[in-house]
Each structure stands twice: as C-alpha cells, then as structure tokens.
Symmetry: C2
Subunit: 111 residues, 2 copies
C-alpha cells in the first residue's frame, strides 16, 4: 500500500493552480513550446492551451508569452508572473510528500 495526495489552490471554488498545471508551466519553460509541453504532459495542444487560458483568466494575469515566426521560429515562455507563481507553488507544496510518507509509515507500515 502507498499514500497518495493531490494539492491545488481554488479561487471562487475554481482551480487556479494545481500540481498538474504547475508541471505544465514548468514543461513550457523547459521546452519553450506549448505543443512540446502538452506532449510531455500527455494531452493535446488544445487542452494545454485551454488550461493556460483558464488559469490566466482566473488569476487575471498573463502566464505564457508566445512569439510567432521570426528568425528563431517562434516559441513560448513564461512571464515573470508565471515564474513567480510556479516558485510560490513549489515552495508551498515542498515537504508535503515527506509529511505524508512519515505519517503513513507510522500508521500503516505494519499492514
């Protein structure tokens, strides 16, 4: 048996940030591309783009900058606000897995 958790943040009963959404943003930062990030997350470009737009609307802040064409062929990157949100979220959730693992060990290790 193993413990599992999920953690997210809501605003007006709607998800604004979650582990999944933060991983998507991190994948965009890493790959410089929404479609590469979507593929990495196992979803369609459309789905990834919808999630980003949803977060942007709910947080009322732009999260992803996209340049089309140009000598570099375009690409996407996180805005400073998105970088700050990802950083906050990672700090917020740091230690959760250890907290849960320790408690699980304490109460379920004998089963």
């Amino acid at each position: 048996m193993e413990p599992k958790t999920n953690i997210w943040i809501e605003k007006d009963d709607k998800v604004v940030l979650s582990l999944w959404r933060v991983r998507l943003l991190e994948a965009i930062a890493e790959t410089g591309s929404i479609s590469a990030a979507a593929s990495k997350m196992g979803v369609s470009y459309r789905r990834a783009w919808e999630k980003i737009q949803e977060c942007e609307a709910r947080l009322a802040v732009k999260l992803v900058d996209t340049q089309t064409g140009g000598s570099g062929g375009g690409g996407s990157s996180l805005t400073p606000e998105a970088v700050a949100y990802v950083d906050r979220f990672r700090k917020f959730t740091a230690g959760l897995d250890e907290f849960v693992s320790e408690r699980f060990e304490k109460y379920f290790s004998d089963i």
Copy 2:
C-alpha cells in the same frame, strides 16, 4: 484563494482507502444503515454498496456487517477491522490541513 488537498491510499494502483470512503464508513457507523449513509454522502445506495464491496475486495477484509430483519428491523455496522482502518486513516491524515494551511499562509497570504 484557498488551498485544497485530497489524500488516499492505493494498493496495486487502486484506491483502497480515501477521505471519501472513510467518511462513508463513518456515516454507516453513525446511522447504522448503508442507505442512510449513502444519502448523507449524496450518492445512491447502489454506489455506496459498490464502493464498500470494492474496498473489502481490495483490502481482503470484511468492513460492513448487515443484519436483515429481526426485532430491530436489521441494520448495518462496521466490523472491528473497519473501525481499526478508519482510526488508522484518521490518525494518518491528522494535521494535514494545518500543515497545508500554514504553508499556504506563508507563501500566498500576500496575494
């Protein structure tokens, strides 16, 4: 904005215990009836019964005893094993909300 979490336990990639399932078991203990517990949880009797059977199969232990008819009109109660699982799960998850709230306060209170 507010933090949200979910916590559960899996065995062979399948849920064996979760906050929802533990609440269902607690509702059965409280009401002495699967149908009253199902109604309290906002699901059909069938759905509640399926979840219980699923947990019993995955944990390989009987969780709910049901007496039909008799002078008391029948009713359901938790087995000692179910009581022990509920107790373990509640101890396991105790403090999680406080842990998450404190961290949220630390990293998101200024937004």
